[in-house]
Symmetry: D2
Subunit: 351 residues, 4 copies
């Protein structure tokens, strides 16, 4: 058996941490050698996530207990909160410059320090790394990712909106000034912190929008859509919370002067014909989040609106998998030279 | 004690039937004297809906067993499927022209026979009644409803979209050619028929759009929006199914050349200042479906989009109450001369 | 119109507080004049529970801001946490001895100071009041409650277990040493505090037992079952958490040397023949929590086991209504001389 | 690469069929060559279960279209309804006696034709095969399964009850006449047929018992418990339906004259020390269904009751995996000579 790559997960007690562990323990080419969780340091992973009871895993440690200079680690997944992340990774790469990093936070997604400061209300503390980081949307930046040391894994909402929109923007198929993205997410997207508004009794059997007009994921959309268009593109984007755990669905309204909905469907079908994780459904068929649960797949559907020149597009993914940890492993596979789909080929768990 | 009005419910074994019974048994001015359910004829209501075990109610009968000419009934709620409805009501009003009717189906909502035929694929079989029927959106047609014999109770999706949009359209505050209504409904909106796609295991922990580009509620929206605007108005409308029982939320994207989101909020606040069942939240606050569950309330929130000239509006209601049976009783109260809010003053059941 | 009684709610920002408000605002004989919530003092109730947006209610204040000696209040509902409660009520009744109190905590349910200390690990600080308090299970202590000043409203699990078991124990119909109560509760029973294990993502789509072998509600069961039997009775009791908001179902296994399951059904049917809030279903029919949601009803079903001499009994109630706030109002009605069912006659909200 | 075994699935359009496909498409040693579904014949699997959109699978055919004599198939999974199954397998094995069969129905689980007839109300039509069939509870019958041609995969409820109880019965550690099994199952256990009582709106936000006193899974429990005890053993067993998709939890009440709860925990821990799919948690820790979702694991917890001599045991599994399709593949692995855990080593999908 070939030598396995040694990987670590910073922030293993959160949901994206658990999802990384779930997928990595069956990955044939890697071995988990480090799990950190500051508040749970000293505990076993099974105490934090009992589903891992049958699995042998490293005991949780605090990040401060790790001696990066001496660590025998090939790649780190960083699943820490925004702002903490940039400090930790700066320290880590300062001491161990050969370790590769896939960061799941928002800290390295924005190229523009000014945009970062505007959206996050403080100066970025690792500007050099911000410059170095490659945006990890594999279907767009595959080649750059292969040789990257630091990859900024895209956000869940933004992955779900970019995959259907980028090919249409690049093909100049849609009106750039009239794009509406109405997005709905399962609760795991909100993380594991104990907040009143996230209690079961507050969330169950109900639905609402949040962050209307000012959700931070917009910054990431602005950047990537504008890059693709070659001019500034700003979309209307409204996130909502669904009474379910996993899954994002984006309903996207676009209009065009020169392309029909069928044309758009053809553009998307062609763009993703050979992609293992993006599937464009037959024209008029709409995707459901439940069919990609626990998988790294994105399903996209296109239908024509009854208003001439308009199309309605729905895209779905699992916010913890393609929207976070699955895509992070997809990035890792490229960075370590493994086949891109290794370890993340599961189909959705339905029902 | 005053004499109570005698009411009957056709189609009592469906969800809107049960919701009518739930609300009417505590209504001080009416008495339920007739419940029909063809396939459950001969059974007690508690066998069909066990929550009524503690309540004395008429035994279920089939419609054919009712002798309308001799029936001592003041008002009928008709909660039958589309198409069947027009035949039943034509027969009923033919034999008992003094009975008042609130119809919860779509059969009498469209004024234009051609529009009906286009959307429902067959000719309307009660054209005279279609002409007579008053559209029962109380906040708009209150005066006409008071003297109506036949009221067409509005659809759930359409009530939720009309209440926030009509005042803006009438005030010429928004661009009529660029309205997007992204609507999400709980499962009770789909009724009680046993279909695979409505099974718990198919619906739970997932989300999807349906009827994209061709949902029949659009016909009703077209009619009322166009009437309000004085010209044809067609909106983009996409319904989705939520993994929960009750509640509709419409996320509405509008733009304006001359009005700000704050202006729109002011227009809506003024329009509904004295309405008992429509509440406009403080600017920027967004409503949640859970807070109107089981109540006849509609909550509306307005927020400005970051794109200049655009606003995002959310409205919520309970599809079985304000979206169906509660609004039907609101109509009944007007038709029978009772205070409009009698029997439907409950606030939402949360949590 | 007669003068309305003035009532206050201590702890209005929790779920039982909200449920009290929901029911009391439509109660014809009372007026809410005081709402306290220490951490939310100064806010409006609608900020804490937006469903009350359409209702005029007193602003939330802190308990310390209330001058009990001068307060013009007839009855207080106390929905505060255990231990805090006894201090607050002692102070309140010390300063305003004519105010009546319905306490929803566990603080005054146990008669025996030693039992209290054993289960709650500290001495009771209001022993005189503990002695005075009447246990508020209306179906058993109706007469005493009518003249009580301080009523200890029973727990949700214990109400659900006592109503089916007490008549059988009193009739000496079952073996007292072999009773199993397997209880399942919706999440609102766990309250509104922000704890990781109560997050939607932790609770949804799963099920588990908790407090196995040592849940505090056992103390209350021991007391009431032993009183009914005239000897010590201890049952096996296991609580579980359901992925839903409201409802408790207790599955109870009993055996008998001399009575059949049919006999037990007859005993229960007779015991509750005239009770407005307890309904024994036809023999062999089993109750569902959903049919009592939001109502003050308890439904009980009895079926014979295939093992000779054993019966399986299921009872259901809504933990926030008959299990807490509804029963508290039932107690209030008796204490203030109103008809027992006033304001709590709603049937279950289903679907 | 070694030659892969060729397998087929009869009844691929049901939930256990889909679960088999989900697990088998990542199994390194098998290839799916046949999928039948009579009512969906001619369709692709993705039309029935869209999660398989990314996977190449055989088109669905009807069973009658299969020529068993010529079929190049090593093993068949039969996921057909009870009664149909015995006819289909009799025909199949008559024409192709070398094909191995794992049957997921109840048709071959009972050894005694009289018991079969008593519980299923008709004579068994394949008595020879009933005699031949090996009961597929791997942890008990591993050796016999290795050489079996026809394996009767155990029921979901019964697997969940047998795994914790059999070692205790065999060790004579518990009173055989006083065992209570209170079982709760997710909705997928009820299958995919369109029935009113299985609609989302009927199931969501509620809980109830069903089949009380007469559920057919009891026959299987009677047989295996009696075999283990060497005398007749009949337990009290009550199934309930949970508002969630996957998972069974059995709460088991046992008592003993000579063993403590700690002793029982030790017996179970020893019995399953080397089992890959059964994990006994530390004493006093209770399992949750969510932690085994989508996995082939069973978790067991033991706690002492406060009543001397009694213990409370909880066991959990995923009814579609260890309770059906996962265990079927575990059986297949043994029958085809593969390592027992191949293809079913996933841990639970949580959250």
């Amino acid at each position: 058996m070939a030598i396995k790559a040694k990987v670590g997960i910073l922030g293993a007690s959160g949901y994206t941490g658990a999802e990384l562990v779930r997928l990595l323990i069956n990955h044939p080419n890697v071995e988990i050698v480090l799990l950190t969780a500051d508040r749970r340091a000293g505990q076993e992973m099974r105490q934090v996530f009992p589903q891992f009871t049958p699995v042998k895993l490293p005991t949780l440690v605090s990040i401060d207990a790790v001696d990066w200079a001496k660590a025998d680690i090939d790649l780190i997944f960083c699943a820490l909160p925004h702002a903490t992340t940039q400090k930790v990774i700066k320290d880590l790469l300062g001491k161990a410059p050969k370790i590769k990093v896939v960061d799941l936070s928002a800290d390295f997604r924005l190229h523009d320090p000014a945009a970062y400061q505007r959206w996050y209300k403080h100066e970025h503390s690792a500007l050099e790394l911000q410059k170095e980081a490659i945006y990890g949307l594999v279907e767009v930046y595959r080649d750059k990712i292969k040789s990257a040391r630091l990859v900024a894994n895209p956000g869940c909402y933004t992955t779900c909106a970019q995959l259907p929109l980028l090919p249409l923007i690049k093909a100049q198929a849609i009106d750039l000034d009239n794009i509406v993205v109405d997005a709905k997410s399962g609760m795991t997207g909100a993380g594991r912190s104990a907040k009143e508004e996230m209690l079961f009794s507050e969330v169950s059997e109900g639905f609402h929008a949040y962050g209307v007009g000012h959700h931070r994921h917009m910054a990431e959309l602005d950047q990537e859509f504008s890059l693709a268009a070659g001019r500034e593109v700003i979309v209307s984007f409204t996130p909502h919370l669904l009474p379910m755990n996993r899954g994002i669905l984006s309903t996207i309204y676009v209009q065009s002067k020169n392309k029909s909905a069928e044309d758009m469907h053809a553009i998307l079908s062609k763009a993703y014909a050979n992609e293992p994780f993006v599937h464009v459904l037959p024209f008029g068929e709409m995707p459901q989040t439940r069919h990609v649960r626990g998988s790294n797949m994105t399903f996209i559907g296109v239908q024509k609106d009854r208003i001439a020149g308009r199309a309605i597009i729905c895209s779905v993914l699992d916010n913890l998998t393609k929207g976070a940890s699955g895509q992070a492993i997809q990035n890792m596979n490229l960075m370590l030279g493994y086949p891109e789909t290794t370890g993340i080929e599961q189909v959705g768990l339905f029902p």
